[in-house]
């Protein structure tokens, strides 16, 4: 079983919840290690979705949607100050309705 493997080399899904802290401590967070994990992740995504015989638009589209989500998260503080219109009616609370320009 997977209990016999050294902790730092197990994949995330195989680590038990109690071991999470010590697993994080053993991972390689040096710049080289971070770059290696980024390259690893990129290769796995690329080989699964793009580098296939009959790849469609899905591989790139998922990446772009992820980028949109990332940008939204990045500028949430800035966006949360937008308000589409002020309600005159006192019974309706003013809600933050964010309809961004390009999302229309």
């Amino acid at each position: 079983s997977l209990d016999r493997f050294p902790l730092g080399e197990k994949r995330l899904m195989d680590v038990k919840l109690g071991e999470l802290g010590s697993w994080l401590g053993k991972r390689d967070f040096t710049p080289n290690g971070v770059l290696a994990s980024i390259r690893n992740g990129h290769d796995r995504y690329y080989n699964k979705y793009i580098n296939v015989k009959k790849g469609g638009i899905g591989g790139v589209a998922m990446l772009l949607v992820g980028y949109v989500a990332l940008s939204y998260m990045w500028e949430y503080d800035h966006l949360s100050e937008y308000r589409l219109w002020e309600y005159d009616d006192l019974r309706v609370p003013t809600t933050y309705s964010i309809i961004h320009l390009k999302a229309l």
Binding site: I50, V60, Y67, H78, K102, L104
Partner: protein, 223 residues
């Protein structure tokens, strides 16, 4: 209250990293390196076709000395067109709306063409300042005018900034100002927004192309 009109062009910071850093590195991920295989995947095939066609078209008017610039011009074109088109997605940031970036691209490249021309063929480079067949009395004035036009060429960068900023600003105005103020004609405003988006797509591609084309033109004169 609504914030000022130009807030969309600020690059917000998260965890200390500005969004422009993410936006600038994304084109790198979108263009994979072709492998040594004979038949690659569809993305690389499309990308290779586009790059080959574009480079071939671009280098047609340039002589052999200008062919050294092929990699630079094509990668510049890919970079600009990707940045512009990605900026049309919702919530994304367009780095080419920043004048600093565009001037940073335009001024060194223009200066390089000028210096190459002056160094390798100074007579011909200076000769460009006077078009053929000008009447003799006009010569002093024309030389001054052509010198000014030579120095105004870095407006390449300003052109890119202005076009993209204007397009995005139009869309923002239509969405944030027109739509809330006149909800009864919302259909018309939606049509306006749709057409503006189409225009933006066209402008994005055209502006990138114009930038690179003019640069190759300046190169052609000087190389």
């Amino acid at each position: 209250m609504t914030l000022s009109f130009f807030d969309q062009f600020m690059s917000p910071t998260y965890l200390g990293i500005p969004l422009i850093a993410v936006a600038l590195t994304l084109p790198w991920i979108l263009f994979p390196t072709p492998s040594a295989r004979w038949l690659n995947n569809r993305l690389i095939t499309l990308q290779g076709w586009f790059i080959n066609r574009f480079t071939q078209q671009l280098l047609l008017p340039l002589n052999l000395g200008g062919h050294k610039w092929a990699a630079l011009l094509t990668s510049l074109m890919l970079f600009l067109i990707t940045l512009n088109m990605l900026g049309l997605l919702p919530y994304t940031f367009t780095p080419t709306t920043q004048l600093s970036l565009n001037m940073g691209l335009a001024v060194p490249l223009w200066l390089a063409t000028v210096i190459i021309g002056m160094r390798n063929q100074p007579t011909a480079a200076l000769g460009h300042l006077l078009p053929e067949g000008t009447p003799v009395p006009l010569i002093p004035v024309l030389i001054i005018i052509e010198t000014i036009s030579l120095f105004i060429r870095p407006a390449l960068g300003v052109r890119l900034t202005a076009n993209l900023t204007a397009g995005h600003q139009l869309i923002a105005t239509a969405a944030f100002v027109l739509l809330p103020m006149m909800p009864t004609v919302a259909i018309l405003t939606s049509i306006v927004l749709f057409l503006l988006t189409l225009l933006e797509i066209a402008v994005a591609m055209i502006q990138a192309y114009v930038f690179v084309l003019l640069l190759s033109l300046y190169l052609q004169e000087n190389v």
